[in-house]
């Protein structure tokens, strides 16, 4: 009941395009339940809406003794290959450039309570994730998000993921200029853009306000833009340096400069051209080689640049390229005007420690950015609601998430710092460890991720607790180090860019499997993740705290005056670093120390049998398949409308489903076909009907006729009987479009 109720209640509060998207997805859910959509197509459909699988969703779980089957009520019904329908899943919610409002936080809290496990998880790419959500609840969650301007669209799957940006943008003391409006414009431009629907893999974009700080971590992204200002004829001119081909994972790449000093008005078309080149030439079959870094590496940055420039030349003009320069996101205003503009002297030690680590003075005098550390990126629904109230009181709508899994408040008046600290302390959110060694970052790992090997969150929690307990004794040089943990080599914890990084793996010993972490030292966080760390050996998971102690102690003992961890680890070298922890690699007999055979926070004997098939890459489904699948959803709506006696809507949906299917076919030959029915029908007629390619062997041109006639008439059918006929014909039209696509694919492969 509440599903229908929410849909009706939120009508008019959602962006119409997003609302329709969600309607289509809801139909797809119903169609899949009826077995009318292929599981692979449905998997990619849901991934492109941020609906991701979770650990054990193949219905198998190792309980510490044996593998057990989870006997879900829906039996073998799946929502993707080896992914059971009833198995709870994760929903990733995009938070472009990390921007959040208190109202959005309130709604996120509500959703965590009603559909998830009462926890909001901030990711290393500024998204928010809900875990343990049932597939049938997803459309309602999406609607409630859409009503406050949030989307899950393309948060997973082979598309443009959340667009990240430095959380200090606009208030930073060293940035070239505020990248926020450009980030927002590019996010809106690429969301659902036709040129981004045929990627072989995901595509991550980051913005940075400067080259020297960590900012947006541009160098480890598929595409990144770094702001710059140059004097031209004595006048400051803003532009971007655009980088491509960065990435982490098993083969980390540093991004390469694609184009320097790109004018602001050229940012969007340049990224569009990159998208087209990637969609056309990127690997599609082998997902392990399908990220853009492999394409850039294969053809070389010079040739890649030439291809992009060539593509840019032929792009059809789009007014959105520059619209944001005139009427884009306005600069933020502080919620509270300055009164005194100064801080009172403080004596409270808790405040002093918090003030030292969690407060950054903005370039705007009298204001500061305050970091609120979230342990492991988690915040409970109750805390989130209280935090929203604190935001309303002190900073209004200027909240952002960070890639270090924290939340920042911007535009805090210096005179409010003590009151803010007190308010945060009251809700248990005044930990004084922001961006210190205590503030350990971690991906979900084996807690919920299908690909996790080791318990990254378990380890991160353990390190956090231990380091917090002795934070007062830590050497100043150690306090500022960063620790990042990934549950596997896919690097979602961004361990490559940490001073001390770990990623999960395993080793066998005496017939048993032992959880391990590979130790990676000396990554560079600054300079937009300017260099990656050295792997120095795999150590049993339970000994990692000892690794941290030894490495940090050695660093303190060896370092030259002013020497950074990065420089020290480079000077010490892989061999020297490995020697510090070499003896910890030895695995005792199980009987001598069984604790090593289980992981942090999980007493079950360790097993890698729970690792599933990753959906990170998504299914490689062509955009034609997806569009035809959408057409089916719309046809389904037509059938529902007919059953409800709504002839007008039945006609509209039937007609629209045929237009969608026709457009899918036309787009295989004319990617830029505009969203105009006249053009779509004309092109469809010329390319597929007149050429007889749409013809069925027995029915000949019969299936195309309903679209052509309905379009030519220009008016809806008048009777229920006609509507019923049109709805049936629409389904046949879509079937014929599928058949046509298959014939075309056969012809293509026969010519290769």
């Amino acid at each position: 009941m509440s599903t229908i109720g929410w849909r009706d209640r939120l009508q008019g509060q959602m962006d119409p395009e997003l609302a329709e998207e969600i309607d289509v997805f809801e139909n797809q859910v119903e169609l899949r339940k009826d077995g009318r959509v292929d599981e692979r197509v449905f998997a990619e459909t849901r991934l492109r809406r941020g609906v991701y699988g979770q650990r054990y969703d193949n219905g198998q779980r190792h309980d510490g003794v044996e593998h057990r089957r989870l006997e879900f009520p829906s039996g073998d019904l799946t929502k993707g290959p080896e992914t059971l329908w009833d198995a709870p899943g994760m929903l990733r919610i995009k938070v472009p450039w990390g921007g959040l409002t208190p109202l959005q936080i309130d709604v996120l809290a509500e959703l965590a309570e009603e559909y998830s496990d009462h926890v909001l998880h901030v990711t290393t790419r500024q998204d928010i994730q809900l875990h343990y959500v049932h597939i049938e609840d997803m459309p309602t969650v999406m609607r409630r998000l859409a009503a406050v301007g949030m989307t899950t669209r393309e948060a997973c799957g082979n598309g443009v993921r959340n667009l990240t940006a430095c959380p200090l943008s606009g208030v930073c003391r060293t940035e070239a200029f505020d990248v926020t409006p450009h980030s927002e414009a590019l996010f809106r431009f690429l969301l659902g853009h036709p040129d981004c629907q045929d990627f072989g893999r995901k595509f991550k974009i980051a913005f940075s306000g400067c080259a020297d700080e960590a900012c947006g971590l541009v160098m480890m992204h598929d595409l990144g833009a770094i702001a710059r200002v140059d004097a031209v004829d004595g006048e400051p001119v803003q532009s971007f340096d655009i980088y491509v081909g960065g990435g982490l994972g098993t083969t980390p790449h540093q991004a390469k400069l694609l184009a320097g000093r790109v004018p602001l008005g050229e940012l969007l078309p340049t990224v569009q051209a990159v998208s087209r080149v990637f969609a056309r030439l990127g690997e599609k079959q082998n997902r392990n080689r399908a990220r853009i870094k492999f394409l850039v590496s294969q053809v070389g940055i010079e040739e890649f640049g030439r291809l992009v420039r060539e593509e840019r030349e032929i792009l059809p003009y789009d007014p959105r390229w520059t619209a944001h320069l005139e009427d884009g996101l306005p600069p933020e205003d502080p919620a509270r005007a300055l009164d005194t503009g100064t801080e009172d002297a403080a004596a409270d030690p808790a405040f002093i420690a918090w003030r030292a680590n969690n407060v950054y003075l903005q370039r705007q005098p009298g204001y500061a950015v305050v970091t609120i550390p979230l342990p492991l990126g988690d915040i409970s629904s109750g805390q989130a609601r209280l935090l929203a109230d604190v935001a309303r009181r002190f900073v209004g709508d200027t909240v952002r998430t960070t890639v270090e899994q924290n939340i920042v408040f911007r535009w805090v008046r210096l005179e409010d710092l003590r009151d803010l600290h007190a308010a945060l302390a009251e809700i248990g959110m005044a930990d004084p460890y922001a961006e210190t060694i205590v503030d350990v970052t971690s991906c979900p790992g084996t807690d919920t991720c299908k690909l996790g090997i080791s318990a990254s969150r378990g380890l991160a929690g353990e390190l956090r607790e231990r380091l917090a307990a002795k934070s007062g004794e830590l050497d100043e040089a150690v306090k500022g180090l960063r620790i990042k943990v990934s549950g596997c080599f896919n690097s979602c914890g961004q361990h490559h860019a940490a001073d001390i990084g770990f990623f999960g793996n395993s080793r066998k010993s005496g017939g048993r499997v032992v959880p391990h972490f590979q130790v990676v030292l000396g990554g560079e966080w600054q300079h937009n993740a300017g260099s990656y760390g050295l792997a120095v050996g795999a150590i049993p998971s339970k000994r990692i705290p000892e690794v941290v102690d030894r490495i940090t102690n050695q660093f303190v003992a060896d370092r030259l005056p002013g020497e950074s961890f990065l420089d020290w680890s480079g000077r010490t070298g892989r061999k020297g670093l490995a020697a510090i922890i070499e003896d910890l690699k030895q695995i005792p007999e199980y009987e001598d120390d069984p604790t090593l055979f289980s992981d942090w926070g999980n007493p079950r004997e360790f097993s890698i049998g729970d690792i599933g098939v990753g959906e990170c890459a998504g299914e490689v489904i062509s955009s034609t398949d997806l569009e035809l699948s959408f057409a089916e959803s719309i046809a389904f709506e037509a059938q529902v409308a007919l059953e409800d006696g709504d002839i007008t809507r039945a006609d509209d949906r039937a007609y629209r489903s045929m237009i969608t299917a026709a457009r899918a076919l036309v787009r295989t030959e004319l990617p830029d076909v505009p969203e105009q029915d006249d053009v779509i029908v004309r092109e469809f007629d010329a390319r597929f009907v007149e050429t007889k390619r749409f013809q069925d062997r027995f029915a000949h041109g019969k299936f195309a006729r309903p679209l052509l006639e309905r379009h030519a008439s220009g008016r809806p059918v008048a009777t229920e009987e006609h509507a019923r006929t049109l709805v049936e014909e629409a389904q046949l039209f879509i079937d014929a479009a599928h058949a046509c696509q298959i014939r075309m694919a056969g012809a293509t492969s026969a010519t290769q």
């Binding site: 009833d86 009603e114 343990y132 109750g382 999980n602």
Partner: protein, 194 residues
């Protein structure tokens, strides 16, 4: 009323005595031994979140938790899917399950009395803002069913209720049970969920 989710929480007698992490091994064992109802899936650990959901057995139909929400530790059981019976029966079943989990934990080495809950108070939360907004009207609607659920747990059928929280929070009722029957009585019939 058939809300999306219902939760019943019983409060720990001595919250400081229980280390949330101590329940992780038994929770895993309860999954292995089918000691809890529905289809349990995994254990989720959130003890690091202040006033959070604590440590949970996440299931398909039911979540069981050592729960620290509202700053007060307790044992909660939440019905998420596949509801059966009337609203009153569902609430009663959840109270039974919370009591049963308490008895299970009291039997664990290293936990013992730290797992004991009181029977004089319960918190019923309806996690469905559409069906049950947090207002007095909802209280009027659910009160008879809550009486039906809780009065048999009192020797004198003496139960008092008050709504908790504000409009944007989920609807919640604090139930005070005078002359409450012992926990063993509460758990009679909880096999209905197992």
């Amino acid at each position: 009323m058939n809300p999306h989710r219902i939760s019943v929480k019983l409060y720990l007698d001595d919250p400081a005595a229980l280390d949330a992490e101590a329940v992780v091994p038994p929770f895993h064992r309860y999954i292995r031994e089918d000691a809890v109802g529905g289809i349990p899936i995994d254990v989720a650990r959130y003890a690091h979140v202040v006033n959070g959901p604590g440590v949970l057995i996440i299931g398909h139909q039911l979540d069981y938790a050592i729960d620290y929400a509202e700053g007060r530790a307790g044992i909660s059981v939440t019905r998420k899917r596949d509801q059966e019976g009337t609203f009153a029966e569902q609430v009663r079943d959840l109270a039974s399950e919370a009591g049963r989990l308490s008895l299970l934990l009291q039997g664990e080495d290293g936990i013992g009395d730290a797992g004991r809950v009181g029977t004089g108070a319960a918190l019923v939360t309806i996690l469905d803002r559409y069906e049950a907004p947090n207002d007095d009207e909802t209280l009027v609607r659910v009160e008879p069913a809550l009486r039906e659920a809780f009065e048999p747990l009192s020797e004198r059928a003496a139960v008092e209720m008050s709504r908790v929280g504000v409009a944007r929070e989920p609807f919640a009722v604090s139930v005070a049970i005078a002359a409450a029957r012992p926990l063993e009585h509460w758990t009679e019939g909880s096999a209905a969920l197992a």
